[in-house]
């Protein structure tokens, strides 16, 4: 009983770290630009398909394609921000929302058009292997995915903390006028931020493809999942995204096992409602 519960919690934490990386992208973009990326899950699924295609056609393992896909998504994000989102930065929230919902609709239906509604799994040679630690069985792919997610989160954290560009982006987030006054190229930094958020999406999607089957139907669910996680963790807080991801991972795993898999996100939304009411800035967010 307890061993099973422990096993489920550990699996939940591992999945949660990948969720956390995905949500981190949303959090970084919102924290700096105050834009909510409503097409988040849609692009995560695009990354899943990219990983699937590279594996299926060229035999590249997702762990190898992780960095190239993340880099490609960085440029995708950079270009999208420059071409599409930039004029909307100072516009009303609902206008940004419509723009990104339009984009999400195009992306998800584009996927549907190209790949059809069926799920595309990545069957790695070690897909069904697991590590045995005491009474627990931990999926090998899940461990790899979680470690990959954690590594990228740490890299991103170090980037924001110690590099000049990272510091400059934090300056934009803290005080936009001040950042402009001291001569920072805010437009450029915003595009880099959007790119970094998309790199998170690219990496998270690649890792996700190893533990879930890519299908267009996942996209809206992932967008909502990312929202739930960042609100619980605190929109704009990097550590919060990871904490929220792990919490949701655990809650989904437990609810999926003990209650019903189809009801697992009901508990995530209940958690979200509770957090919004008791602590609207999120667990790790700054006071609103």
């Amino acid at each position: 009983m307890t061993a099973i519960t422990l096993n489920i919690i550990v699996q939940g934490i591992l999945t949660g770290l990948v969720y956390g990386l995905m949500a981190l992208g949303l959090s970084v973009i919102f924290g700096v630009m105050r834009v909510v990326n409503f097409a988040h899950g849609e692009f995560t699924v695009v990354a899943m398909y990219a990983a699937f295609l590279l594996f299926d056609m060229l035999g590249v393992s997702p762990l190898l394609s992780l960095l190239p896909i993340a880099a490609a998504f960085f440029f995708l994000g950079y270009v999208l921000q420059r071409a599409l989102v930039e004029p909307f930065i100072s516009r009303a929230e609902h206008e940004q929302f419509i723009l990104l919902v339009g984009l999400a609709t195009v992306v998800v239906n584009g996927l549907l058009l190209i790949f059809g509604p069926d799920a595309h799994p990545i069957n790695l040679p070690y897909s069904f292997d697991s590590y045995t630690i005491g009474p627990m069985f931990i999926d090998k792919v899940r461990v790899f995915a979680a470690l990959g997610a954690l590594a990228i989160c740490v890299a991103l954290f170090l980037f924001f903390r110690y590099t000049r560009t990272g510091t400059a982006i934090r300056a934009c987030a803290d005080n936009l006028t001040g950042a402009g006054v001291v001569g920072l190229n805010v437009k450029q930094l915003y595009a880099v931020t959007f790119g970094l958020g998309f790199a998170c999406i690219g990496a998270a999607g690649t890792l996700m493809a190893t533990i879930a089957d890519a299908s267009p139907g996942l996209a809206p669910a992932y967008t909502l999942l990312a929202f739930v996680i960042v609100i619980i963790g605190g929109l704009g807080s990097m550590a919060g995204a990871l904490v929220g991801g792990v919490l949701i991972g655990i809650s989904e795993a437990l609810a999926g096992f003990y209650i019903q898999p189809s009801m697992k996100s009901m508990f995530s939304f209940a958690l979200l409602i509770i957090v919004l009411v008791l602590r609207p800035q999120g667990l790790m967010g700054r006071r609103l």
Binding site: H94, L103, P220, L235, M263, M266, F269, I273, L276, P280
Partner: protein, 334 residues
């Protein structure tokens, strides 16, 4: 009523009368298909008015109006299929049920000062929560859905909202027209001005002595209640209900498209938006069928692109621009 009419410029009066006459006479010339498109136009115009009240006037972004639509639809259809209580009584149960849900969302949100994006996400959370709940609610058929029988006694009678397209056409028309009148009236009422004040500057509104929490709650009450009536129409028009469709976030987004495209916070915006968007989607389907393209998603791609283009080029909506072009706005031209 009369003061709204008098406020219209002369050509606006003529245009209004012509359009009303055309809408009433439309079934004489329209075939069944065209009629079904017009029903959707009025249906979306009606729901757009309901949502616009909350977002356009009181400035509160709700992305979870599917909650009230679904609650209204499920309440009335469940009363009918389970207890044989007709929709004309059912609607008066559906309204309070949805309005109560709106109260809960509004109270939780605004009491705890949840604003903007956070409030929008709270509304999504409640709608999704309810969707999954209904997916597992056995009495309403869970995820397998609920169906309105067509041959149970009395189900073909107009007072039980059963019948041909004409019935639904005029019902949807009356709903849309009544909602537009109501919104036009509210817009000019003290309450309407309070909403605008809350939307433009909540702090200043509070300083001016407006109870902003109360103003927002009233907007939510009316908006959720109106949306529930739309839900009752939805349930009896489509005659089947699935939680994954009625409570879906896609449904919420569908509701808000017409007012945003038509013009937020304007009386005629939701109507203009519905008139533009619905036939656009339908003609796309027809066009694709004509060219033998049968790919799911192609229509939605065009829909998404249209949204992006309109919001980029005409962010305040089509109606303010159109009104200026037609000389229907009351503002003096430069």
């Amino acid at each position: 009523m009369t003061d709204i009419w008098q406020r219209l410029p002369t050509r606006g009066k003529i245009l209004c009368l012509v359009l009303l006459a055309a809408a009433i006479a439309a079934p004489l010339v329209a075939d069944r298909y065209l009629l079904s498109v017009l029903i959707l136009v009025f249906y979306f115009a009606y729901l757009g008015q309901a949502w616009n009240l909350l977002m356009g006037f009181a400035g509160q972004l709700s992305l979870g109006h599917a909650l009230y639509l679904g609650l209204g639809a499920y309440t009335a259809t469940a009363l009918w299929t389970l207890f044989g209580i007709g929709p004309w009584i059912g609607v008066f149960v559906a309204i309070p049920v949805a309005a109560a849900a709106g109260m809960v969302v509004g109270w939780l949100g605004w009491r705890f000062a949840i604003e903007g994006v956070y409030f929008a996400l709270l509304t999504i959370a409640f709608a999704e929560f309810t969707r999954i709940g209904f997916d597992h609610l056995q009495i309403t058929g869970a995820s397998a859905g609920m169906f309105l029988s067509v041959n149970s006694p009395g189900s073909d009678k107009w007072w039980n909202l059963g019948g041909g397209p004409l019935l639904y056409y005029y019902l949807a028309f009356i709903l849309a027209a009544a909602a537009t009148l109501l919104v036009a009236r509210l817009r000019r009422s003290p309450l309407g001005y309070r909403w605008l004040a809350v939307r433009e500057d909540p702090e200043a509104a509070r300083a001016a002595g407006i109870d902003i929490f109360r103003a927002k709650m009233i907007a939510m009450l009316i908006s959720a209640g109106m949306t529930a009536v739309g839900g009752v129409f939805y349930g009896f028009y489509y005659r089947n209900l699935f939680p994954s469709q009625v409570f879906d976030i896609g449904r919420s987004i569908e509701i808000i498209m017409a007012p945003i495209i038509g013009g937020l916070g304007t009386v005629f915006g939701p109507v203009v938006g519905a008139v533009l968007l619905t036939p656009l989607g339908e003609s796309l389907t027809a066009l694709m069928q004509h060219f033998g393209v049968n790919t799911p998603g192609a229509k939605s791609i065009f829909y998404g692109l249209t949204l992006m283009v309109i919001i980029t080029l005409q962010p305040s909506g089509v109606w303010p621009w159109l009104a200026r072009k037609l000389g229907l706005d009351n503002r003096p031209r430069p």
